[in-house]
C-alpha cells in the first residue's frame, strides 16, 4: 500500500543519510584526532594492559576496544595481559611501574578501587591512575539452575529459604569484592544465611552452578548468556537501580527485597598513569571517546550484554564522575568496618 511504501522509502532515505553522516564524520574524526596529536608521539606501539586472563570478559572488552581504536586513529595498539592475584599484580604494576610517557594504558574495572583501598598497603592509590574514558557497565545478577529445587522461586522466596534454613543454600562468591558485599548486604538486611563457596570469577561460579556444586551464582550477563540461551540457567534478580533494558522482565533487588541500596555494578574504563603529560592524556582520551561512539563497537558490546550508564557515558568529566563513585565505595568500606 502507498503508506507502507512511503514509510519504507523514508526509512531508507534516513538510513542512507545516517550512513553518509557516519562516514563523513569518520573522516572528520581522523582529521580532528590528528589536530590534537602531540608531536613525536607515539614513537612506540601503544600498550593496553588487561589485568585478567586472556579470553575472559575484560580481555574481550579490551581487545574489541583496541581494534576500534586502531581503526580510528591508525595507531598501533597491543593488548597485554598481566595477570595474577585476581588483578592485584597488574594494578600494582600500572600504578607504580608502568612507563609514564603515554604508551601504557590500562583497561580496568572498578574492582581496582577495592584493591587500592583494602590491599595495597599504602603502596599505591587508585588516584595514581587517571581515567581517560568510560566504556560500559555490567550490573551484577543472581542466577539459579532451571532444574533444581530453586527453579521457580523468586528472589524473595530464595532469601526466605536461606532465612528458614540457614547455611544450606550454597552461593558462589569471589572473596574481597562486590560478590561478597552484596551477599553481606542481603544477609544483614534480611537475616538470611548463605553458605559461601569461594571462586576466582563469576564464570567459574557459573560452571559450578551447572555442575550442581553451588545453588546460586552471582555473575554478570556475559558469563551466563550461553547457559541462559540453552535454557539451563535462569536469572533471579539484578542489583541495579533500574531494570536492565534488554531484560525487562528481570526484577531488581530493590524491588524484590524492598530495599534502596542494592546496587552493585561492574564499571569498565580506561586509565593512564597520572604522571602522563596533559597533551598526551588528552589525545589518548579523545581516541577512547571516539571509539566509544563507534556504532560497530557499541553493537559488539550490546551483544556481550553490557549496559551503558548514561550518568557516566554522557558526563562531561568522566574522570570526576568515576572518582566520585570510587569515593562512594570508600564510604561503604568505612561503614562496614573494612577501613578504619
Amino acid at each position: 500500500m502507498l503508506i507502507n511504501r512511503v514509510y519504507k522509502s523514508c526509512i531508507l532515505a534516513a538510513t542512507i543519510c545516517f550512513i553518509a553522516m557516519i562516514s563523513a564524520s569518520a573522516q572528520d574524526l581522523k582529521g580532528e584526532l590528528s589536530k590534537i596529536k602531540p608531536a613525536d608521539f607515539p614513537n612506540l606501539p601503544l600498550e593496553m594492559t588487561v589485568v585478567y586472563p586472556a579470553g575472559g570478559g575484560a580481555d574481550l572488552t579490551a581487545r574489541l576496544l583496541a581494534r576500534t581504536m586502531e581503526q580510528i586513529s591508525s595507531e598501533k595498539l597491543i593488548v597485554n595481559n598481566r595477570t595474577g592475584g585476581a588483578g592485584m599484580v597488574g594494578h600494582a604494576w600500572l600504578a607504580t611501574q608502568a612507563p609514564t610517557d603515554g604508551t601504557a594504558m590500562g583497561m580496568l574495572v572498578n574492582l581496582v578501587w577495592g584493591d587500592a583501598m583494602l590491599r595495597s598497603e599504602g603502596r599505591w592509590n587508585y588516584t595514581d591512575l587517571e581515567p581517560i574514558g568510560y566504556l560500559n557497565s555490567d550490573p551484577m545478577m543472581w542466577a539459579v539452575t532451571t532444574d533444581g529445587p530453586l527453579k521457580s522461586m523468586s528472589l524473595t522466596q530464595i532469601v526466605q529459604q536461606a532465612k528458614d534454613k540457614p547455611n544450606t543454600l550454597r552461593i558462589a562468591t569471589v572473596p574481597g569484592s562486590m560478590w561478597d558485599y552484596l551477599i553481606e548486604q542481603v544477609e544483614n538486611n534480611t537475616g538470611a544465611k548463605f553458605l559461601r563457596v569461594p571462586f576466582q570469577s563469576g564464570g567459574q561460579g557459573a560452571t559450578a552452578l551447572i555442575g550442581n556444586n553451588v545453588d546460586i551464582v552471582p555473575a554478570f550477563f556475559a558469563d551466563l548468556r550461553a547457559y541462559i540461551d540453552a535454557g539451563k540457567i535462569r536469572l533471579a534478580a539484578v542489583a541495579s537501580s533500574k531494570r536492565v533494558s534488554h531484560l525487562p522482565n528481570l526484577p531488581t533487588f530493590n524491588e524484590e527485597l524492598k530495599g534502596i541500596d542494592y546496587e552493585w555494578t561492574l564499571i569498565r574504563f580506561v586509565v593512564v598513569p597520572k604522571k602522563v603529560s596533559t597533551e598526551r592524556k588528552a589525545y589518548l582520551s579523545a581516541i577512547v571517546r571516539a571509539a566509544m561512539k563507534d556504532t560497530g563497537l557499541i553493537a559488539e558490546y550490546v551483544k556481550m550484554g553490557v549496559d551503558f550508564d548514561p550518568l557516566l557515558r554522557d558526563a562531561t568529566d568522566q574522570a570526576a564522575a568515576l572518582n566520585l563513585a570510587a569515593e562512594k565505595e570508600r564510604e561503604f568500606y568505612k561503614k562496614t568496618g573494612r577501613i578504619k
Binding site: 600498550e47 597491543i78 563457596v197
Partner: protein, 146 residues
C-alpha cells in the same frame, strides 16, 4: 659436611616459615584460611630436614664437586648472567646481551676475539629479529633507541 649444612637449612627454613604461617590465620570464615597450607608444608620441610639429619642412607654418596678451574668457569657464567640481568633495564636488550655474550664466549670459553665478536653479534641480532620483529614482542630498549 655440606649436606649437614643443607639439612640444617631445611630445618631452619621450615621452622621460620611455620612461625610466619601461624601469624596468618589457620582457619577462618570459610574453613581453612591462608595460613593452613603454608603451615603444613613448612612443618613437612622441617620434619623431613630432621629426618635427613639422622638418616645416613639418604646422604649423597660421592659428591662430584668441580675442580678449581671448573668452579671458576661456573662462576664466570653466573657472573655473565648477573651482568646481563642487571644491565638489561639500563642499556636495553641488544647491548646488554652483547656484553654478556662477549663475557661468556671470550672469557669463559676462551674463544679468540674475532670469533667471539662475530658470534655475539650474530646471535644477538637473530634473537632480536626472531622475538622483536617476527613474534612482535617488545624487548627492552636502551637509551639509544635499540
Amino acid at each position: 659436611m655440606i649436606e649437614r649444612f643443607v639439612n640444617l637449612f631445611w630445618i631452619a627454613l621450615g621452622f621460620g616459615a611455620a612461625v610466619m604461617a601461624l601469624k596468618m590465620n589457620l582457619s577462618g570464615p570459610y574453613g581453612p584460611d591462608s595460613g593452613l597450607f603454608p603451615f603444613l608444608s613448612s612443618v613437612m620441610v622441617c620434619l623431613s630436614g630432621l629426618g635427613l639429619m639422622f638418616d645416613r642412607s639418604s646422604s649423597a654418596a660421592n659428591i662430584d664437586w668441580p675442580s678449581s678451574e671448573g668452579f671458576w668457569r661456573v662462576a664466570g657464567v653466573i657472573f655473565g648472567m648477573v651482568a646481563l640481568i642487571f644491565l638489561l633495564p639500563y642499556v636495553g636488550f641488544a647491548l646488554a646481551s652483547f656484553i654478556t655474550m662477549i663475557i661468556l664466549i671470550r672469557f669463559v670459553e676462551r674463544v679468540e676475539w674475532k670469533q667471539s665478536i662475530l658470534l655475539s653479534v650474530c646471535s644477538v641480532l637473530s634473537v632480536q629479529i626472531l622475538f622483536g620483529y617476527l613474534l612482535d614482542m617488545q624487548l627492552p630498549r636502551g637509551p639509544w633507541g635499540f
